[in-house]
Amino acid sequence: MSDYQLIIIGAGLSGLAAGIRAARFGKKTLIVDQHYRPGGLNSYYKFQGHLLETGLHAITNFAPPTRKKAPLNLLFRQLQLSRHDFPVREQLGSEIAFPAGSLHFSNDPDLLQAEVERLFPACGEAFHQLRRAIAAHDPFASTPWRSARSFVAGYLKEPLLENMLFLPLMLYGNAEENDMALSQFVIMFRAVFEEGLFRPEADMRAFLDLLVGQYKGFGGVIRYRAEVEKILIKDDRACGIRLADGSIFTTEALLSTAGLPETIRISGWQAPCATYSGKMSFTETISLLPNAVRGSIRQDRTLIFYSSSDQFSYRRPQSLQDISWGVVCFPDNFKGVPHKEFFSIRVTNPASYPLWRALDSETYAQEKTACRRAAVQASERYTGPYGQAIVHQDSFTPLTIERFTRKAEGAVYGSPVKIPDGKTPWSNLFIAGTDQGYLGIVGSMLSGISIVNRHLLT
């Protein structure tokens, strides 16, 4: 008799969603996480008395509760949570800023259509046709990899517009360099441009509390500060885990949300780690500003995706941080958010994990400070000046991401090669989350749910 029927590695959003599903239908379930709080990539921490969120800029896939087939509502039904317990705030509107011009978009997809027609009059009809092709495409069919770049170019034939559309979709959910799988592009296009962006009315802590509460309410057990050192294999089956403190828990089935490279390492899976190590990682600088300086800062945008060149290539930079493109997030600029004493601005730029890794600790600290300054300066062109008004500032690098989330090389979107069916060489060990293929908060939760539904419930 095993200790548990299911052990889930990782209390991030995919692990929590998987845990709720399993526990809801009576599986004796244990979730383990190395960190002392849940959330994984999308968590929070206290800094100088302020609660700061990590990961989350905005949640994609906005839908009102009445649109039943929308991924967000399906997700809530699967977790037996009510949308009424989760009040949300929609984005004010966002922007894609290139030197040649800007495209504005909101949760009304007609706005983006009108903006494309304004900036690229010759492309209006082609963009409309592209949207129809995206609506008709089934991204969940198991088909070989297809280039999203070629697909989009086939409709638009306007490289600048193509770059502008790819910037937010790649930045918010592409593990590959340069190109993107068509299926992933279709998922992201619908999630960002057709459905739209929102955030919880409360903070990430409240959302995680809701999920953990639901999981525990169904009888699920969760252990923090529980670092898995080894997945125990016996007779070609995963039979348990050994934690760093030496304790052992046995189980009938295992679900790992730690990402492929980490799962390969702790299971002894004979697979090439390099193939499954994503190269896209980021630095992020969070600045807290007094409410008094709001007047000199852009207030009508939630996100500004920017590129200082009309050429945009999505790849690991040759420097610690590349400030030529990135995204600026205003976590307070959502509809109906009351003004508080402070507001924050977050700037995210691509970064190189190996270059950060190579630094000694003193240089690392110096470079981190220098990169913060550079990121703020680059963003001021789009936000208005705020560098002098910063009260508190913090930042993370690819190393920070790796340390807290176990995502190898700080690759937030995981492996460029996904495992859509979640299977491993062991019949009762599965993977879910980023490396199964769905990304973002809604996507990763649906990943956890779908793997449990498919392999562990029936």
Partner: protein, 83 residues
Amino acid sequence: MNRNEIRDVLLEIIADIDEEADFAGLDDHKPLRDQLDLDSMDFLDIVMELRKRYKLQIPEDEYPELATLSSCVNYLEPKLRHI
């Protein structure tokens, strides 16, 4: 359970799965999926809930039996007769 009781249990399970479910005008002979705008993942929940409540195993190839409310009742009647 008789046919009416089974029908009530099914509606209760669906209401539990989908708080937005609107049963007004529900036709017992038309597909539930279209009328209530449900996804195949929601159907899995009906199956799982029946299993949880009545220890009833419904094999995947018999899921089509659950298409309409009346086909559900027909299918479940012999299985739940003694409950």
